[in-house]
């Protein structure tokens, strides 16, 4: 059996017959995969963090609501619960820089533990690290934020809060920029980190925390430990809800908007339409070419070879449109990311999504070739040539 590649003139002849129709089909596939790429990036923006979350980490928050806080004393109590390895706590400052529109992802944390839980995710010069740990009024920021506001090490930055105030009613916490770190996590690249003690010393309602990050000794104990924590505080004035970091992130997103479901619905509709368009185009083109296909049969072309040629035709159309659409999506996502970094730090078209797209392209090419294959199976060579 000669290689399929030598038959390329036949494949391109089929596509050239109706150039406009072929281009329109490619365009519709392109639009479908452009949308696919954008939605995958959006989905990653929302759920991307879920997968990277440490599997051994539990998140404890108030069971009342996201914005309710917990007493700081809980941290010490949780540390004594069997199975708990490390406890870190943090509070969301709801900060901005200069203008309310320039939102900062600022957290006040227990510095040593916060760093300890992220050593592998951060790259931070030792000198800056030491400086920050020793400077109560110091701040550590992701390089992405530093770049956006042109902050330099040593600079004093007036961080203001939308939520918290000083006893005198003002809301500014000036901090000294001690360190700038880099991270592969686009979320971390966006954060501003303060010492909890500094923030706590100035706030009108001290000794509250937003949430606790707990590492367990053994992954197998994750749910048991979570249960122990919640039982301990069940009858306190501040009952807790503890979940794995992954579940926590996913629930948080799903409560806001069920992106997954929306993405899925849109994609099903789009791909179904695209499949109809390509399958119909291919079926029409095969019907119009029935005498050409029959003449190939008289020359000794097997049905199987003709199927392969039709499949190749479908692959050329779907891969051309699909790859163009994916490239366009990648470009658009990169462009959008520079504008939306504050809101959607993990907006990104991942290699995984691109591979998923490629798989879909091949699947759709095969699916759209099904009807033509059936047509050819039924085509009687002798009848197709009875034109005269």
């Amino acid at each position: 059996m000669p290689t399929l590649f030598r038959f390329y003139p036949l494949v391109f002849a089929a596509l050239r017959r109706h150039r406009v129709r072929t281009l329109l089909t490619i365009a519709s596939v392109m639009m479908a995969f452009l949308l696919f790429g954008l939605l995958m990036a959006l989905s990653h923006a929302f759920y991307g963090g879920v997968k990277t979350a440490n599997r051994r980490t539990l998140i404890t928050m108030s069971s009342m609501s996201f914005i309710e806080s917990l007493p700081r004393a809980d941290a010490a109590e949780i540390a004594s619960i069997p199975g708990v390895a490390k406890v870190a706590y943090e509070v969301w400052i709801g900060a901005y820089y200069q203008h309310q529109s320039q939102i900062l992802f600022a957290l006040a944390v227990s510095p040593k533990r916060w760093l300890a839980q992220r050593t592998r995710q951060l790259s931070l010069p030792t000198t800056e690290r030491t400086a920050w740990l020793g400077d109560r009024r110091g701040a550590l920021v992701g390089s992405s934020v530093a770049r956006r506001y042109h902050w330099k090490i040593g600079e004093i930055i007036p961080i203001r809060s939308n939520i918290w105030v000083h006893p005198n009613g003002t809301n500014t916490w000036p901090v000294k920029l001690d360190g700038i770190f880099h991270s592969k996590s686009r979320t971390l690249e966006q954060v501003v980190i303060l010492h909890y003690r500094y923030w706590n010393g100035g706030v009108n309602k001290p000794n509250v925390i937003g949430m606790l990050r707990i590492e367990v000794h053994h992954l197998s104990e994750l749910t048991a430990v979570a249960h122990r924590i919640d039982t301990r505080f069940a009858n306190s004035p501040y009952p807790t809800r503890t979940s794995s970091a992954r579940t926590f992130m996913k629930n948080f997103i799903d409560q806001t908007v069920d992106i997954g479901l929306i993405v899925q619905d849109i994609l099903i509709a789009v791909f179904f339409t695209m499949l109809l368009v390509t399958a119909n185009t291919l079926a029409r083109s095969v019907r119009e070419r029935s005498s050409e296909i029959a003449i190939l049969r008289t020359q000794g072309y097997s049905r199987r070879l003709i199927f392969a040629l039709i499949l190749a035709e479908a692959l050329v159309v779907v891969l051309t449109g699909g790859i163009l659409g994916t490239l366009l999506a990648a470009l658009l996502v990169e462009g959008l990311h520079t504008f939306l970094a504050e809101f959607l730090p993990t907006l990104r078209l991942t290699t995984g999504a691109e591979l998923k797209g490629l798989g879909l392209m091949i699947l759709f090419a095969c699916a759209s070739a099904l009807l033509p294959v059936y047509q050819i199976q039924r085509l009687k060579t002798a009848d197709a040539l009875r034109g005269g």
Binding site: P2, S291, E292, Q299, G300, T381, A382, L385
Partner: protein, 239 residues
């Protein structure tokens, strides 16, 4: 290959039909197109088959070329019993043994003449250069002017298109050509040229030709003219 029997002194016929029947169902009625039809074509023969429309001429050629199967009877082409071949073997056999030529040429309009002629060669393990050589030779043999070898069918006259179709039929060098009204769509002059070309192929390349035609000029060129009045029924061996 069939064994040569001791008593066989004459060479194996190119085509040998024995009591072949073929009928089609049209609605409730059954149309008997061929009814116990027997027919022999000697190797190297050039036969013109003339019969009214609808009498089953195309059906006959399709059966001989293995594009269709008889209800009854045996068909042997160059000694090969077609009923003994499975679909895939029949397809391979066809690519080496039969060249089809049709009234409507059936060229692929967006491919050049040379590309059209190359199509049957793509099935063979030949290099690109070897294919190009054979395509040139076939097109030159049919008399298509050199500068038109890379024209597309719509840029060629009817006679030239039929030359391209003939080149495509002979490029794999099959011993038997089945022609279904090859001049049916051409004017007198062009038709005559095509008939002369077929005669040349018969004489110089020893192609066996079975041609269905309404063309009166065909009678003068063919070795044998077979007239059929009422459909292809019964014995034709001695026509």
């Amino acid at each position: 290959m069939t064994a040569i029997l001791p008593e066989s002194t004459t060479p194996t016929p190119a085509v040998d039909l024995e009591a072949v029947s073929k009928s089609y169902r049209r609605g409730d009625e059954i149309v008997h197109v061929l009814d116990h039809f027997s027919f022999t074509v000697a190797s190297g023969d050039f036969i013109a088959l003339m019969a009214p429309s609808g009498s089953g001429k195309s059906t006959l050629l399709n059966l001989i070329g293995g594009l269709d199967h008889p209800d009854q009877g045996r068909i042997r082409v160059a000694g090969t019993e077609l009923a003994g071949l499975r679909e895939s073997a029949l397809t391979r056999w066809r690519s080496r043994n039969i060249g089809f030529i049709f009234q409507l040429y059936y060229l692929i309009p967006v491919l050049s003449a040379a590309r059209n002629v190359e199509l049957p060669l793509l099935l063979q393990p030949l290099s690109r250069a070897e294919r190009a050589k054979r395509v040139e030779a076939a097109l030159t043999l049919t008399g298509l002017p050199n500068e038109r070898h890379h024209f597309r069918p719509p840029e060629l006259s009817g006679g030239q298109q039929q030359r391209v179709a003939i080149a495509r039929a002979i490029v794999t060098d099959p011993p038997l050509l089945l022609c279904d009204e090859p001049t049916g769509d051409l004017d007198r002059a062009a038709g005559n040229e095509i008939l002369e070309l077929l005669k040349t192929l018969n004489e110089r390349l020893h192609k066996t030709i079975l041609m269905v035609t309404h063309d009166p000029h065909a009678a003068e060129l063919a070795h044998r003219v077979v007239h059929l009045e009422k459909g292809l029924v019964g014995e034709l061996r001695a026509a």
